[in-house]
Symmetry: C2
Subunit: 530 residues, 2 copies
């Protein structure tokens, strides 16, 4: 389908959406009980890349509703819109930009040539440049001023330059140690709070640290401030900063072609910060901390998952169905939040990354044409790893007055393979038993004569089940959620790729620092003695 | 007022609540603009302990609504109920228990004697026992089998035995290093995921580590499993586990009076896990990591704040007014979530702790008498430190379709005092300028011809402003939120001190491990090969 035939319509104007609202609702408690529940677990599942599977048995859907969701996907032209995106249409209409993060890991459609450059080739070239650099660092060919090897890599960046790469590093740190793929410890400096940089610098050996400065524009206030912080520390230690710093930036930024940096690796305006983990933004730190091969395997996992996402059949496209069910829960069932609950300590910061990816993309009130929409868009997203969350906020999820749809993730095997057998089972089996138990507890609930011990059930969840959290599995997980967010943005008819809501705060903060304030802003500034 | 005169009524039956709903709403955008806004910042503030101040200028209230909130506080007998609690009434009706966490830091009212024990004296005795133990460890009087000093303390616990102590440790770690109060690095093992324990153990020197096992009942599955994990590691290193472990538990638990532990420090059934940071649960790890004096200062901050909270005047009781405004936002304005946004990297895990404290306490659907209530109770609570959040989920907070009330925290000074001056200001000033700017951006918004760049404003926030995040300030902050949660529980007429919603998952997980499953539970178990 050519791009001219794509229609961008508000969700509430779509016939399929109106029909969907009229369909009989599913009593999850009923359908998940007994043999019906068993049949659903076997039926409502589909394979993902890297051995993962997406299971939606415990979502409040049935064949009739899934049929309605399929009609909605078709009417909203969701996979056509995805094709337009990866074929290089200007999908980010606000900023008039292409949206090309998929090209950092695969060629999904036509060649995308912009200003004479084949963009896939450009991203691959950056990956190769990082590979050569990381190999030289690991081999001791690139060393500090004293000729010694670097042992630590410190990423300086905020938002998308921090949350995704940090989450990916934590996700694969133990796996890399276990498999002999660990080269350098990674640390992260993000906040403009001086205690963040000072605290990290206290805990590392700066003489053997390589700093990766990440800013697309080269003008992010927090990041440049923290760069100065680090340069101060290097100078105080009698070290030449230019031997300790690399930049990840765009080719037109002041950080490019600058002798202050050992090397510069490039991204461009077509990679949004929150979608940049598979670009040089994630590539530099992950290739240095682990190996370039580990980063390549992570990209392959994402690429394999992306391919599944091209499929127009909702029953064979996990991100597409997940997105549709999410919109059904938000706009028809009326649930205001969603929780991401990975049963994996390694995924401890993955919810924080997806909190940005999701809420910054779809937390919008105007459609692609700048008109206010009449329906709720992106929900609040939060989460912590299980089983920890069970001992924390799950009380509200089970017995609170609001229903919060849940997204579980679980793996059969641990990463380190060290385990103990207590009361007849390993810790890993206990972990898996807990996530399974929670799905059923949320869906089916429990009767009790004492209302305080009663569980209403009917609380929907999905789960992604994998063998082990490998680089490929991490790539596939990342792709899944990125694409889910994209499809939901298409459904809500918002531009998921700009973030105008962050601008006003920046403008006012500058006024405060310049003492150009009045009214409440002036009074609050005085309370802080600014 | 005697306990018999206290009436426990549902929020929607209170006359003051009905009257409150009829009052004209405040346009925050209007009242926070110009001179009106400046006047509000000066007027709508009150002192807290440890030099903190609670400012609610940017909440959607005015004198009329505050008057209505005061009437609600009076009719709901909020400070009388608090007095009943600290004087030892059975406030936790479900479990028929007293609620005595305030006594871990101060004597607020009458002596509470239970089973012949003065409870305040009991908690103080535990604190003194910890003090003596920690001093001996720091002085090298209690050492490992080779006669060497311990360098690391590892807390093994989950939920309330993890989140609060971990958040407090991170909050004060840099402060302690800077002020010469740092003795031992602390680590935390919580998740039953074997990669959590294995990962922590890989990163420490077990021969010089002291493990603090925390479980009130002595039966928490995750904690006992992780204890075995640690004992395995100690045995493999040829070490005698009983020289490396202490217990924090109740006197009746199997961990008490057990030669497997160097020492046992006690709490009891009247300290809920999520309110246990000021008991031995926080006391052992914080006294060992820092000093007993630092822990005592933390308790003093909480005690000073608790005293303010006795005040029946809503304009002089920050926790009381904060609680009332939160219920106004939840039950009259209809907002489903709230965000906690500390502009302090040291408070990075404080939102996770309050997520438990708040959602586990008030995420309930039945009142104290086991009757279902007809109104929303506890909201979803989430948050990350600023300025990081600004580059993440703030897009939705500014321009999303739902309004999320905000709770800011900020400090004039950093903890480490290391800073750089860039573009005419330090990082600390930039941090403060940002939080001030955000308050105004959220409240007042901005007009723009382009709807995509328009900010609707009217998004309410409060802020707690302090000088520096010291132990006293941390104690006062903790007290504030604990007491706020308590008052909100009183208003919603729920029992904030039980957590029946966590039980069903435990029961089902045991069934899965025992292979006593059928239906969907059996099918999911097979997918995980349990």
């Amino acid at each position: 389908m050519s791009a001219e035939n794509i229609k961008w319509n508000n969700l509430d104007t779509l016939k399929a959406f109106q029909e969907l609202g009229k369909k009989e609702k599913v009593s999850l408690k009923d359908v998940m009980s007994g043999e019906s529940g068993a049949a659903r677990v076997k039926k409502y599942t589909m394979p993902m890349a890297a051995g993962l599977a997406y299971n939606y048995a415990a979502k409040a859907v049935n064949d009739d509703i899934i049929d309605g969701l399929a009609k909605l996907a078709e009417e909203a032209q969701l996979t056509d819109k995805f094709a337009a995106l990866y074929n290089g249409e200007v999908i980010n209409t606000g900023e008039k930009r292409l949206v090309l993060h998929h090209l950092t890991r695969s060629q999904l459609g036509e060649d995308v040539v912009k200003d004479g450059t084949n963009k896939r080739e450009f991203y691959v070239a950056q990956q190769k440049k990082i590979e050569a650099f990381a190999n030289d660092v690991h081999a001791g060919k690139i060393v500090n001023g004293a000729g010694e090897k670097f042992t630590t890599v410190v990423q300086i960046g905020i938002g998308g330059s921090d949350l995704g790469p940090r989450a990916m590093y934590l996700a694969l740190e133990n796996w890399a140690k276990q498999t002999g793929n660990f080269n350098m410890e990674a640390k992260f400096i993000s906040n403009v709070d001086p205690d963040d940089a000072a605290g990290v610098l206290q805990g590392i050996d700066v003489a053997h640290s390589l700093f990766v400065l990440v800013s697309k524009s080269g003008t992010t206030l927090e990041t440049l401030t923290n760069e100065s912080f680090v340069k101060d520390a290097l100078a105080k230690a009698g070290l030449d900063a230019s031997r300790h710093m690399v930049a990840v930036t765009s080719e037109t930024s002041p950080l490019a072609g600058n002798s202050d940096y050992l090397q510069a690796f490039f991204m461009d305006d077509f990679i949004g910060g929150r979608f940049s983990s598979t670009s040089a933004v994630g590539g530099a730190v992950l290739s240095l901390a682990f190996t370039p091969e580990v980063f390549a395997r992570f990209l392959n996992g994402a690429a394999e998952e992306d391919k599944l996402v091209k499929n127009a059949d909702v029953k064979a496209n996990p991100a597409l169905l997940d997105a549709l069910i999410g919109v059904y829960e938000r706009n028809i069932l009326g649930f205001p939040a969603t929780a991401l609950l990975p049963y994996s300590q390694a995924l401890s910061r993955f919810p924080a990354h997806l909190q940005q990816a999701d809420m910054e993309s779809n937390g919008k009130s105007v459609n692609r044409f700048g008109e206010f929409v009449n329906y709720p868009t992106g929900p609040v997203l939060f989460g912590e790893p299980g089983t920890n969350g069970q001992h924390s906020f799950y009380q509200l999820l089970h017995q609170g007055t609001d229903i919060v749809p849940l997204q579980f993730i679980g793996f059969k095997d641990s990463q380190l393979g060290v385990d103990v057998d207590i009361q007849g089972s390993t810790s890993q089996k206990k972990l898996c038993a807990n996530v399974v138990a929670q799905i059923i507890a949320f869906a089916c609930g429990k009767e009790d004569d004492n209302n305080n011990k009663k569980f209403a059930g009917n609380r929907p969840s999905s789960i992604i089940i994998g063998g082990q959290l490998t680089p490929e599995a991490m790539g596939a997980l990342l792709s899944h959620y990125e694409n889910k967010i994209m499809f939901q943005g298409f459904l809500w008819n918002v531009n998921s790729f700009d973030q105008e809501g962050v601008q006003l705060g920046k403008v006012l903060a500058k006024k405060v620092l310049a003492h150009e304030t009045d009214g409440a802003l002036k009074e609050f500034s005085e309370l802080f003695e600014i």
